[in-house]
Each structure stands twice: as C-alpha cells, then as structure tokens.
Symmetry: C2
Subunit: 108 residues, 2 copies
C-alpha cells in the first residue's frame, strides 16, 4: 500500500519559492527524513519565476511546483514500503514558512 | 488552478508494466496529447521488476509507478494552464489494457 500526501502551501516568501537549489536540498532532505532513498533529482527554474523539482525515489516520488508570485507551492510526497512521508511533509511546511496549507492523504 | 488526476490501474499485463521504454513513450505521448510540453523524462527499471517513469512538464508533471507482479500501476497526471490531463489518463487506461481502474480528480 502506498502513502500519497498532496500538500498545498500558501503565503510563502517569493525568495524561498524561487530558490531552485534550496528546493532541491529541501526535497532531498524531506525524502531522506521520511525513510526514502533518492535515486535521481531533476529540476527546472522557469522564466520569469517558478521552480519545479522532482526526485525519483526507490519508493515512488516527491515533487514540488512553485508559483512565487502567488506565494504558492504544490507538493506531492508519495512513498511505498515502510516510509513515513508525513515526516517529509512536516519538514517542508516548516521550512517554507507558509502562513496556511492544506494536506490531503490518499492510500493507493 | 491546477488539475491533478490520480489514476490506479489493475489487471494489467506483466509485460506492459515492465517495459521501461514503452512506458516512457506512453507517458510522453499522454502528456503531449493533453496539451502539455515535456521538458525532461527520467526513469528507473527496478530489480527484479517494476518501473518508474517521471516527466517534468512545463505545466507540472506526469508519473507512473508499476508493480508488474501485481498487475498494478499508479499514475499521476498533474497540469496547470489550458491542458486537459483527462485525455492523457484515457490514453494510458486504454494502452495498458487494465481490467479495472480508479480515477480521482483534485483541483489544486
């Protein structure tokens, strides 16, 4: 059974959401903290702003898409096996200093 | 507003679900058919079986994780803008010849 968290963050700072390397580091740390293994990470910094980071995990994937101009980010943390992806979600919520968020959980 | 489809497929053939290049082609075609632009695709074929393919899109991402030994696949098609990701889902459902599926839709 896989555990898939869909996290939407609001009220984040433009700078944090537009920092490609910072978001790569954050997602990889969040994956590792969840008990997952990062196999490969890809990213794209969009013009004029916005970042996507996706890590392929041994246990599925973790991703973030950001809209710095709206202070918004959409995060997916999807793992199989004995991971606890909620730990990664909590880390991302804290590190991106959102003023509000929604978190949905789906078993699949 | 982003459109995120979570598709779970069951009863698929082992061969189709373990064909890394076939799944890369399928996901890229599904993304394009949905009106999205593929920027980069990464994949991993697991030992002894199972495949992950993830494409980073201009409009978010598309991914598949497969468990050929269970005939199961988990697909995400998440796009922003004017895309219609339902088109990509329908293509994947048809091409992987599943006997049953569940499809959830989230606006985010």
């Amino acid at each position: 059974m896989g555990k898939h968290y869909l996290l939407n963050l609001y009220g984040c700072s433009f700078v944090l959401l537009n920092d490609e390397q910072g978001l790569i580091d954050l997602l990889e740390h969040a994956a590792t903290a969840s008990g997952a293994t990062v196999l490969q990470t890809i990213s794209k910094s969009f013009n004029p702003h916005g970042v996507t980071v996706i890590s392929l995990l041994s246990e599925s994937h973790i991703s973030i898409h950001t809209w710095p101009e709206h202070g918004k980010a959409a995060v997916d943390v999807y793992t199989c096996g004995d991971c606890d992806p909620k730990i990664g979600c909590d880390m991302i919520i804290e590190q991106l200093c959102s003023t509000s968020h929604t978190l949905s959980y789906i078993e699949r």
